[in-house]
């Protein structure tokens, strides 16, 4: 499972946004509310609705979508939503109960997973079970945005709130789909330029199944040695990772590690493997000022890191 990169302080950002609107009814009351679970979908929905609705994103930057939970106060706000947008496919384990009970109370729920072709995990403990990380393939995000482009105006138009300009949402959706197409073209061009034999991701990230399927990458799962073993490693500590590197035949591994430099050094000295360790952005956007504040940024930064890593 992924280790989240959350910070206590960061959680306060979205909490503040949520509370501010919550305690300033004069601003919020004339706009309908859309609640979105993940910050990736939150960014996308925000692009589509523009100023036509208030978007409450539950997960702050850096949150782990698998285990993120909300307070009772926030859960109560779900019932005020005109629409709840969630990833589905079992991603938001900590929120599923709240979303389901809001749905039972009559709040419409849009599950991204209902609007795309779902893949199964190709390996690991979860092999064969549905993989929720669809966003690593931009074409699947196109499918989701296309469906949202129909659902959002329909739900917002018949809200009790003041008039919503559905034409504006349609125009926003069209513009965003054009941006996704552009992203898709860039990624296709960049990845096609990588020789096929080198299209291999040695990684401990578990989210790149869709990207691999779409762009023809092999995923080779890697166990990254822990910090205490890196201090004084033996061959057995490195065996699995070295085998993965050799199988892939690539100069970069894509891994989350708090001691990347030490890992590089140990692989060079202890196993005679000259590799770089590069971290990718996986399932949560970065806080303001980070390099993946938006979905498009996240995809571009990962594409660049993969292309650079596999070509040097």
């Amino acid at each position: 499972m992924r280790r989240a990169t959350g910070f206590a302080a960061v959680a306060a950002i979205v909490a503040t946004a949520g509370l501010l609107t919550g305690c300033a009814p004069s601003i919020a009351a004339d706009r309908p509310l859309v609640v979105v679970t993940t910050n990736i979908l939150g960014d996308v929905v925000g692009e589509l609705v523009g100023d036509e609705a208030e978007v409450l994103v539950l997960m702050p930057p850096g949150a782990d979508p698998h285990s993120f939970e909300i307070s009772a106060q926030t859960a109560a706000r779900l019932r005020d939503a005109e629409l709840i947008v969630a990833n589905g496919i079992g991603l938001e384990e900590g929120l599923a109960g709240h979303v389901e009970s809001a749905e039972a109370d009559g709040v419409p729920v849009f599950l991204a997973g209902d609007h795309l072709e779902v893949l199964a995990y190709a390996e690991g403990d979860a092999e064969g079970t549905p993989d929720p990380h669809f966003w690593t393939d931009p074409a699947r995000m196109v499918d989701v945005v296309t469906a949202l482009g129909e659902e959002l105006p329909a739900e917002l138009a018949d809200s009790d709130s003041a008039s919503v300009d559905v034409d504006r949402i349609a125009a926003n959706t069209e513009a965003y789909l054009a941006e996704l197409d552009e992203l898709d073209r860039e990624m296709t061009a960049t990845f096609t330029a990588i020789p096929e034999a080198r299209r291999a991701l040695v990684t401990n990230h578990h989210v790149f199944g869709y990207l691999a399927d779409r762009f023809g990458f092999r995923i080779i799962g890697a166990v990254i040695p822990s910090g205490t073993t890196l201090a004084a490693p033996s061959a057995s500590d490195l065996r699995e990772l070295v085998a993965a590197i050799d199988e892939a035949g690539v100069p970069t591994i894509f891994a989350e590690s708090s001691q990347s430099d030490r890992l590089v050094q140990v692989l060079a000295e202890g196993a005679d493997r000259d590799v770089d360790v590069v971290e990718l952005v996986t399932e949560s956007l970065t806080p303001p000022g980070g390099d993946a504040e938006t979905y498009l940024d996240m995809m571009r930064v990962n594409t660049a890191r993969i292309a650079t890593g596999l070509s040097t």
């Binding site: 499972m1 280790r3 959680a11 004084a232 993946a292």
Partner: protein, 413 residues
């Protein structure tokens, strides 16, 4: 640390202020200052930062009473404070419980590093270490700590106290449960929101365990002659008895269910009275007589006996793919055995000969197993040892200490 971005602290303060101001303006009385409007789960733990891997440390107490905290990742050492008269140290992986018989107290230290097991994955946190304070009683206490909290039992008075993990996380030593039983050499151990407390028989020795619910109400009694030793596994809480082990789990209805796992009929070794194991695994180990090791698989509910072939003073189960079992031999070596076959796979050089030979100090030595390495304190040797049990019991690292590390526990796990 490529894509990781830290928020400038000043921004966080500004936001926190906005939040409080906003909540107050909204008139919601108990929301003021509560930053958990969103995310009472992840990333919302005040003062702690989520980390990509376990922040493993060794917390040691030396003969001068200094509590030191060795970071096993960067090898730095912090001094957390000074506490006198410590006779034992226990942990569940975050808090150090320093038993002080003369003061009739248990001093609780928050190491500030911990791992949270979230069903099928883990979260790792790093915050500030601090001394939380004392839980007062009388005379020596026995501490049994696990993920649910800690049980503190004062033998001279029979006072049994449970500290709840969630309360401790708020830096509070408020008792969840406080019950009194007949004074005896016993213990209390948390099981979920309930607990098990030992009770003495006619001869004064522990003869049974009693369920205590979350409100301190005494419930069912289960026979457990000579109750001694307790440990929590991923399955449940183990209590050692003369004729076997009790395994306490929380059933579907939220109540404690107790099973008995009897020793084999022809056991051939004395019962286990002290259990050790790698955190979060089903199998635990205990010394069985001079050279034997009991292995209790709490998932299969079975006992197995292996022989180290040489006198031992401590045993622990790694319970990895190779079923490694570790033992501290009476001659100061660390032994690595196969739990499956009992075969001796490797042995270190004698490293803590003088400490093991000293009857005063040997009880403070702790052989600690985690996923990758084992750790051992040598008070006389003034050294902490890191052992690679999967690589021929190689001494991977040693850490020289300024004084005698009388007691050592691993935190951050």
């Amino acid at each position: 640390m490529f894509s990781r971005t830290t928020l400038p602290p000043i921004t966080a303060i500004a936001l926190a202020f906005t939040l409080t101001a906003c909540a107050a303006a909204g008139g919601s009385s108990d929301a003021a200052g509560d930053d958990s409007a969103l995310g009472d789960g992840h990333g919302a733990i005040a003062g702690a930062q989520e980390m990509p891997e376990p922040q493993l440390h060794l917390l040691s107490l030396d003969e001068t009473g200094t509590v030191s905290h060795l970071d096993l990742l960067d090898e730095s050492v912090d001094e957390l404070g000074t506490v006198d008269g410590v006779a034992d140290v226990a942990t569940e992986g975050r808090y150090g419980y320093l038993v002080r018989p003369d003061a009739g107290a248990v001093t609780v230290v928050d190491s500030g590093v911990w791992t949270w097991s979230h069903i099928d994955h883990f979260h790792y946190y790093r915050g500030e270490a601090s001394v939380l304070g004392d839980v007062k009683g009388s005379g020596p206490a026995t501490v049994a700590a696990n993920g649910a909290g800690a049980g503190l039992f004062f033998a001279e008075t029979g006072e049994a106290i449970v500290l709840d993990a969630a309360t401790l996380a708020d830096a509070s030593l408020d008792e969840r449960v406080h019950v009194s039983v007949e004074p005896h050499d016993g213990f209390i151990v948390p099981v979920g929101s309930s607990a098990l407390v030992t009770e003495p028989g006619a001869d004064g020795a522990p003869a049974s365990v009693r369920v205590v619910d979350g409100d301190g109400k005494l419930g069912e009694t289960v026979e457990c002659a000579n109750a001694a030793g307790t440990i929590a596994t991923v399955v449940g809480v183990v209590v050692g008895c003369r004729d076997g082990a009790l395994l306490a789990t929380i059933g579907d209805a939220g109540v404690v269910e107790i099973e008995r796992i009897p020793y084999p009929a022809d056991a051939g070794a004395p019962p286990a009275t002290e259990f050790r194991a790698r955190e979060g695994r089903p199998t635990v180990a205990a010394v069985a007589g001079a050279s034997g090791i009991w292995l209790l698989d709490t998932r299969k509910r079975t006992w197995a006996l292996v022989d180290a072939g040489t006198p031992i003073v401590q045993a622990s189960a790694v319970d990895d793919n190779d079923e490694h079992v570790l033992a501290l031999a009476a001659d100061g070596r660390v032994l690595v055995l196969s739990g499956a076959t009992g075969e001796l796979l490797a042995a270190s050089e004698p490293i803590v000969v003088a400490s093991v030979a000293d009857p005063e100090l040997v009880t403070g030595i702790e052989l600690i197993a985690d996923q990758h390495r084992a750790y051992l304190n040598g008070p006389v040797e003034r050294r902490l040892y890191e052992i690679d049990f999967a690589d021929a019991a190689r001494i991977a690292r040693t850490f020289d200490t300024a004084a005698e590390p009388r007691f050592t526990v691993e935190t951050g796990r």
